[in-house]
Amino acid sequence: MAGNAQEGRTSRIGNVLIRAAITLSMVATLNFVLFRVIPGDPAALLLGGARMSVSAERIEAQRQNWGLDRPLFPDQILDYLSATLHGDLGYSFKFRGRLVSDLIWERLPATIALVGLAQLIAMLCGVMLGLYAGWRRGGAVDRIAMGASLALYSTPSFWLAMVLVVIFSTALGWFPGYGIYSPGASIGSTDKILDYLRHLALPVAAVALGLIGQYVVVARAAMSDVVTEDYMVTARAKGLTNGQMLMRHAFRNAMLPLVTLITLNLGYVVAGAITVEAVFAWPGIGGLTVEALNARDYPVLQGIFLLLGVSIVVANLLADLAYGILDPRIRQ
């Protein structure tokens, strides 16, 4: 029996991994196709675009040099896939000669700090608040939290960001309104960290406030479903206190639908927050995306899309595995 269960679990994890691998190869292929169907010839674009007169021979030479004269399928796509597998994402158009992977790598820490921290705060506060609201449905916390959540949920985060800047930066002067470090200040490491954190405060608040409503609403719904379950009546009949009923029987069951939401949202951490990063001039992936779009920097965009695709597939994979651990009904 135990051996069978073990085998069942292994094959389930195997299935999940195979599915993830298939999805990833499709993401990579789509990423390749997407940028090939955009009109315009990269060689002509890079050598000066339509405005300048570059000889057809030079363009043709460049095309040959880059392998663009070869058929898309199978030559070019195989080249692309193989390069991608080796971590080679190509060179940026805008930042001449710079590796796409380097550009993304430089911007990633700022984005992970901003969105990761905001997700963490929104998740902890939102889930706890939502679970409590669902546990004490109709109570004061429930009504206030639900009202506030719906309002925040429907507020665009760039607008929230601007309001925060106006209040806490312009009017009160508590926090800096843009950037990542104070300009020109050459300072020691402790001060530097504090300066970084002060710059981080408002953008994190803007992103977190935009996300928290989602967690409150979903957590509340999950808990409301659990409290009406028969096993909660059993727990009460067994003479458990309200706290024991909540912690031992309600919490884990209510977390099941939340695990999916939480892990999937973690996948979006690397995408950055385009609008909030723009408001605060935050040098993250969101900012890089906007710059690359404006400059038609396709290799960079392609790299960002790939990163996003991979991280979402990985997040899905984690959600699948976490769900299997939490819910015994999924394991077989």
């Binding site: 059993t234 009460r236 009949a237 003479g239």
Partner: protein, 335 residues
């Protein structure tokens, strides 16, 4: 002496118990002056239609009334001690150690994310202060009592069949050695064969452990198989109370008689089931007098005006104007 008189006292005494539910500002009387006593080791069936108050009665005894319920009169004593049945916190120590409940449809009554042995052991740890090892040992004991191999303890509820889950539920109810077990339609969701096995198991455990059993059901045939005594409820009141043998042989109340006649009996060769005419009473708008009079084939004028009280009659009790107290020397009129 005190001990002796205590032993003679009933295990459970319910005296004039009335419970009301508050629904959208309206008070709804679910049970009305319910009185009965339960002896140690006795099996009583509580029978009635949906809304007759049988579940409310049982949940009140177990101290599991919902928050919108209010005890508007009467009292419940356990071994002579008054219980504050409408006080959630005050009832908590009594739950599961004195009265435990076997709920219907054990699929949903068991927590899907915990192994069954953990769910059985849980109240032993939390309520009896056992160590984890002691509680697990106790859980194995009760699993054996209900006929589940102890190595199945590591299973999750979804890995067991309906009958097995109901056995787990019974094992769980036994864990803290209660003296009363309330079965709330414990066999309703099961097929006939499993149903018979579960009833047999409950009967065996009752005599083995000297358990008092309150069996809530709408199925008189279930009561016939597994109870000593049966109480028939209608519109929140007990209308008849007697031994199973007596009630099946000579039902006094017309409602009881019609209930028995509506049981399909394959042995008799009659294929037509006779349903009771009319609709179950509306508790929002209770009929005057005897609540059963609009459906009663033998109703007379007095039935529409006067509420019949539950009086001793023969070996049992009945609330019907057709069967006035025998102490008054009147002969029962059977219509």
């Amino acid at each position: 002496m005190t001990n002796l008189s205590q032993d003679k006292a009933s295990l459970l005494e319910v005296d004039g118990l009335s419970v009301e539910y508050r629904l959208k500002g309206v008070s709804l009387r679910a049970i009305d002056r319910v009185s009965f006593a339960l002896q140690a080791g006795e099996a009583v069936g509580l029978v009635g239609e949906s809304g007759s108050g049988k579940t409310t009665t049982a949940m009140a005894i177990a101290g599991l009334l919902s928050p919108n319920a209010r005890v508007s009169g009467g009292q419940v004593r356990y071994r002579g001690n008054l219980l504050s049945i409408d006080n959630d916190a005050a009832m908590r120590p009594h739950r599961w150690t004195e009265t435990s409940v076997v709920f219907q449809g054990a699929m949903n009554a068991l927590n899907p994310v915990h192994r069954i042995i953990k769910q059985i052991a849980e109240p032993c740890i939390l309520k009896l202060g056992m160590s984890r090892a002691e509680a697990t040992a106790r859980a194995r004991e009760v699993l054996e009592l209900v006929g589940i191999p102890t190595d199945r303890g590591t299973a999750y509820p979804h890995e067991l069949s309906g009958g097995m889950r109901q056995r787990v539920m019974i094992a769980m109810a036994l864990a803290c050695r209660p003296s009363i077990i309330i079965g709330d339609e414990p066999t309703t969701a099961l097929d006939v064969i499993t149903q018979a096995q579960i009833l047999k198991l409950l009967g065996k455990l009752r005599s083995q452990l000297n358990l008092a059993l309150i069996l809530i059901t709408h199925d008189l045939s279930v009561v016939a198989e597994s109870c000593d005594r049966v109480m028939i409820m209608y519109a929140g009141r007990i209308v008849e109370d007697g031994t199973v043998a007596e009630i099946f042989a000579k039902p006094k109340h017309p409602y009881t008689r019609l209930l028995i006649e509506s049981i399909p009996n394959p042995a008799s060769g009659i294929r037509i089931i006779r349903p009771i005419p009319g609709d179950p009473p509306n508790l929002m708008n209770r009929p005057s007098g005897c609540a059963f009079h609009p459906r009663c084939p033998s109703a007379t004028g007095v039935c529409t005006t006067e509420v019949p009280s539950l009086e001793k009659f023969g070996w049992g009790r009945v609330a019907c104007h057709l069967h006035r107290s025998s102490q008054e020397g009147r002969v029962a009129v059977h219509a």
